[in-house]
């Protein structure tokens, strides 16, 4: 019997822990700047030691994202990206690395929870990150994922109350996504000092690992976060590297170099 997505996520975190480091989870915007380049980028993530991959499905109105990722989503949609084409990207590497599509609620609900979960399962995804579907808002989505052994990822943020944080962490499957700061995605010069305590609370209340995202833009910041958390998620910095690259090879080189530096730093 093949491992479930939830089990594969657990194995990925355990393997990193066995090496004495936090797991590295790079993000990419599927279909940005075009399908082929994002295919090369996701391959590069798998080749350069990504422990897990967060795969963005472009959406017209991404409320949790800052300007860099919003612009990438707009460009990907203009280049013809669709949910199905992003699932093809997932399928490319999902046998090597657990992939978690990041999808806004309207795309999920338009497909319907069952079709959404079935499409993820067919593409070999390990779980799903839906940033605007808080706990208990639509239990059918989590239910459809869990039925297939896929992890519905829950979020906590600096504004989450202690009681709610304990509930979310206690119910966590796969890992808990710890939003490092009060804000949208994007690189920041400094990470908030309260982060360590927040991560500690999540780990105390949960069997599942705690991975930190939002605002991490340098290998040094990744190392700092990696020292207190089980996983480090890097998004905007890598999307910027792709956006700034003059061509496909340069994009692959840029993200590969950043991945290598960050793996080294962790």
């Amino acid at each position: 019997m093949a491992e479930t997505g939830i089990e594969r996520i657990a194995s990925a975190f355990a393997a990193a822990r066995a090496e004495g480091r936090a797991a590295l989870m790079p993000y990419l915007m599927g279909g940005f700047p075009d399908h082929e380049t994002s295919a090369a980028v996701i391959d590069a993530y798998a080749d350069t030691g990504a422990d897990l991959i967060e795969l963005g499905v472009p959406y017209s109105d991404p409320l949790a994202d800052g300007p860099q990722i919003h612009a990438a989503a707009t460009a990907a949609l203009e280049a013809g990206a669709r949910f199905e084409s992003v699932m093809e990207l997932c399928e490319r590497v999902s046998a090597r690395v657990p992939v978690l599509p990041m999808v806004y609620a309207n795309v999920v609900l338009t497909l319907g929870p069952e079709r959404f979960a079935a499409a993820l399962e067919a593409a070999g995804a390990a779980g799903a990150i839906v940033p605007d579907l808080p706990r208990a808002e639509d239990p059918a989505v989590a239910g459809a994922l869990l039925e297939r052994g896929l992890a519905p990822i829950g979020f906590v943020s600096p504004t989450t109350s202690p009681a709610r944080l304990r509930e979310i962490a206690a119910e966590a499957v796969g890992f808990t996504y710890v939003v490092s700061l009060t804000g949208v995605t994007g690189e920041r010069a400094e990470l908030p000092p309260e982060l360590e305590a927040m991560v500690a609370s999540v780990r105390e209340a949960s069997e599942a690992p705690a991975a930190v995202g939002f605002g991490i833009g340098t290998p040094e910041q990744a190392a700092k976060v990696g020292a207190i958390a089980d996983g480090v998620i890097i998004g905007t910095r890598l999307v910027r590297a792709v956006a700034d690259a003059p061509d496909r090879d340069a994009a692959v080189d840029a993200v590969s170099a950043f991945m290598a530096d960050t793996r080294m730093a962790l």
Partner: protein, 394 residues
Amino acid sequence: MSPVESRFGPYGGRYVPEVLIAALDELTAAWEEASADPGFGAELDGLLRDFVGRPTPLYLAGRLSERVGRTVYLKREDLAHTGAHKINNAVGQALLARRMGKTRIIAETGAGQHGVATATACALLGLECVIYMGTEDMRRQRPNVERMGLMGATVEPVEAGARTLKEAVSAAIRDWVTNVGDTHYIIGSAVGPAPYPALVRDLQRVIGDEARAQILAAAGRLPDRIVACVGGGSNAIGSFVPFVDDADVELIGVEAAGEGLNGRHGASLAAGRTGVLHGALSAVLADEDGQILEAHSISAGLDYPGVGPEHAMLRDTGRARYVAITDTEALLALRELSRLEGIVPALESSHAVAWLLGEGREPAGGIDVLTLSGRGDKDLAEALAGLERLDADG
């Protein structure tokens, strides 16, 4: 203390990033408390009376009545301070924000009426004010941009997408996600995550409450129909709600058909699908993949691809009926009402007037209350140019 609804049938909810959940909980609790506090109610009522100029008149429009063959009363929200119903919500939420200890206010605006109303309320209460506005709307509504600046508000231009209301709301939500500690977001319509649709409705129901008492005094009975335009739907829901339990009163919401329902439009209820926009499940304009589409209306206030969730429920239950009026019909109605009654309506409100002048003439002989949500001064340049084009085309 009555609980604030989170869902209207299947619609509504809180489809937002986790960062905002605590602020929405706090706002829900604050409104449940404030709306049950006689002191808060008295302060709000006092400001609505002395500052806003309420109650607004219910005016028997004689020449319009003659034209349509029915008895038509206009609920004159155009006579409220700042020229539209938006001030009812802005003053109420600004008072609530002060009570919650927030020092900074943000808001979005399309036509500029909500931005002006919010800037006004912030000047009144001494609160810092930032208004997000699409650059296309800044162009269309220049005088309102200047009014906001004059009252000390900062207008933040939004360049994303079609540079209209949808992107302004998104920009305001992102600001709120980042500054949620000291900032209150005064959303301008009965849209957004819970508790906003209920909060805005509660603050706008003063329109319908007044109209109900006024029509009973003037006509000695309830009207046969309530008619109001629907963008996000705040003036309509405020007009409808006090009549929802009166089964004989028909509720008619008029959306923007723009260039026609087969072209670009803003009619989420008449021609949209179920989906999430700006934190609520409701009727939205979206493609088959769930990507939100750009709306179109000549009226900036109706140029929005979503609508309040309570309207979606009223549509499904059949309690309210939603119709749509094109840009051209709205322009002609603006001119018609100006000439018939000496009242220049906002382009938004002109949609409601246009329905009454057309399909709404049938059946003859009943009593209507039409909410004239705002005055048309802000639209003069856009409306005159549009009418000139129509006249040139014959």
